[in-house]
C-alpha cells in the first residue's frame, strides 16, 4: 500500500491569504507571497479541485479569519460538497463568528495553542492575551456545534508538558489534540537552535505522547510524525506509509501555487493555470516523495518500510536532500540487523 497512487489528493491545505495578526516564533510562511487570488478566480479553482475528486479543504494561512471573503468562500466550497475545516489562532473568533462559520459549512476548526501556560503561549505567539482568546474561541465553536481541535507545535517550550496539554484539551471539550512535529521552515529554521529538540528528546516526547494516546479517554491524540514508526506506532487509519504529503494531501498558497506541503517551498504548479490531476500524476517532485530511497542510516533500518525516512520537509530543509534521514530520527547510525 506504500505505493498507492491516487487520482487526486484527498485533502487540500489551502492558504487563501497570508496576512496574519500574530508574530509566531516558528512561522513557516512569514516570507510567503501576499498575493491573493481574486474571488472569482478562487471560485473557479475550487470548482477545479472538486472536479478532480478532492474530498476536503482545510483553510490556513496566514490567519484565514482575516480574509474578508472567508465565509463566502467556505459556503461556496461546502455547497460543492467539499468538507471544510480551518486552522486559526482564534483571536477573531467570537460567538457570532462561530455561528457564521457553522452556517458557512465549517465542520471542524482547529485552534493553535502551544502551552497550557498563558504567558508561555502568548510569548511564543507574539501577542499578549492570545491564550485567553484562543480558549474562548474553543467555547464559541463548541456552542455553535463545530467540532474543535487544538493544534500544538511541539518544541522546547512544551515538550515536557503532555499531561498539562491533555488536561487543557479535556477541560475545554475538544475532540482532538494534534501534536505537530517542529518543522525547520521559515522562522522555524531561523529559531531552530532555540526551539527544536534533539533526536533523543524527540524519542522521549513520542514515548510519553504514545503512552498518553493509549491511556487518555475521550480525546483523540494525533501524532502526524512518520518517525513514530521507530516506536512501533503508526496511524493505522492512514492509507500510506511515511509522510502523507504528496500522497494524500497537497498544499496551495494564496497565489495559487501548489507545493507538496506547506513546509516544502518547491512550487510544482499553479491551480489557476494547471490541471490538478495532471500535476498530481506527473510532478517529478511528488514522484520523488512517493518513491524515496533510503540513504545513510536509513539503509538497512528495519523500520524504513513504515517510516520511509520520516518527514520529507525536515530532511530537505536541513540537508537539501529529500532522501536523507529525518534529522529528528534517534535511530542508530549503524544499520539495523
Amino acid at each position: 500500500m506504500s505505493n498507492l497512487q491516487l487520482k487526486a489528493p484527498l485533502t487540500i491545505n489551502w492558504a487563501i491569504n497570508n496576512s496574519c495578526n500574530f508574530a509566531c516564533s516558528h512561522c513557516y510562511s512569514r516570507e510567503d507571497t501576499h498575493d491573493e487570488l481574486p474571488r472569482d478566480v478562487l471560485y473557479t479553482c475550487i470548482e477545479k479541485v472538486v472536479k478532480a475528486g478532492v474530498f476536503s479543504v482545510n483553510f490556513g494561512g496566514g490567519e484565514p479569519l482575516l480574509h474578508p471573503d472567508l465565509l463566502d468562500i467556505a459556503s461556496f466550497s461546502s455547497g460543492l460538497g467539499l468538507r471544510v475545516s480551518m486552522n486559526s489562532n482564534g483571536w477573531l473568533l467570537d460567538h457570532d463568528k462561530a455561528v457564521a462559520l457553522k452556517e458557512a459549512g465549517f465542520t471542524k476548526v482547529g485552534i493553535s495553542i502551544d502551552s497550557h501556560l498563558p504567558d508561555v503561549h502568548d510569548n511564543f505567539r507574539g501577542v499578549a492575551g492570545s491564550h485567553v482568546r484562543a480558549l474562548a474561541a474553543l467555547g464559541h465553536l463548541r456552542s455553535a456545534g463545530i467540532t474543535t481541535s487544538i493544534s500544538t507545535v511541539i518544541c522546547r517550550i512544551n515538550s515536557s508538558t503532555i499531561d498539562e496539554l491533555v488536561a487543557l484539551a479535556l477541560e475545554h471539550g475538544v475532540g482532538q489534540l494534534n501534536f505537530h512535529n517542529f518543522k525547520c521552515s521559515g522562522l522555524g529554521m531561523s529559531n531552530k537552535d532555540e526551539l527544536d529538540l534533539t533526536p533523543e528528546e524527540w524519542k522521549l516526547f513520542y514515548r510519553d505522547a504514545i503512552a498518553a494516546k493509549h491511556t487518555v479517554k475521550n480525546l483523540d491524540i494525533s501524532l502526524d510524525d512518520p518517525i513514530i514508526a521507530l516506536l512501533d506506532a503508526r496511524d493505522a487509519g492512514s492509507l500510506v506509509k511515511g509522510s502523507v504529503c504528496g500522497k494524500l494531501s497537497l498544499n496551495i498558497k494564496a497565489n495559487g501555487d501548489m507545493t507538496p506541503c506547506g513546509f516544502i517551498p518547491i512550487v510544482i504548479g499553479n491551480i489557476v493555470k494547471d490541471d490538478l490531476q495532471q500535476v498530481w500524476k506527473d510532478s517529478a517532485v511528488l514522484d520523488k516523495m512517493r518513491n524515496k530511497q533510503p540513504t545513510g542510516k536509513c539503509s538497512g533500518c528495519s523500520k524504513y518500510d513504515d517510516c520511509l525516512g520520516g518527514c520529507t520537509a525536515r530532511a530537505l530543509a536541513l540537508t537539501g536532500d529529500m532522501n536523507s534521514p529525518d534529522p529528528h530520527c534517534w535511530g542508530s547510525d549503524a544499520p539495523a540487523k
Binding site: M1, N3, L4, Q5, L6, K7, L10, G53, F55, S56, G81, R83, D220, S222, D235, G237, S238, L239, L248, K281
Partner: protein, 95 residues
Amino acid sequence: MSKVFRNPDVLWRRESDTSEGASQEEAVAAILFSGGSMLSLNEFGIELWEMCDGQTVDELVASQLSEFDVDEDVLRSDIQEFLNSLLQKGFIRYE
C-alpha cells in the same frame, strides 16, 4: 432482517486509474473518507459498498453469488467480514 445503509457523512470516490500490474482484486478501485478515517476498496468492495443502500445481507450475498463460483457460506463470511470492517469505522449502519 436488518438493512445495511452507508453513513451519509462518508465521502467516497472511484479511482479511475488502477496500478499497472495489479490484479483486479488488489487494485484500488475506490477510496472512502470520513474525518481521519480512510479505507481503500477493490472492485469487489466498491460493488458491495454501492449496494449498501438499504439492502439486507441476504440480498448482498445473493447478488454476488450469481457472479462468483464460490460456496455460499464462504461468500457470506467474506461479505460479513467486509461489513464488519465498515461498521467498525462507522462507515455503515444497520437499521
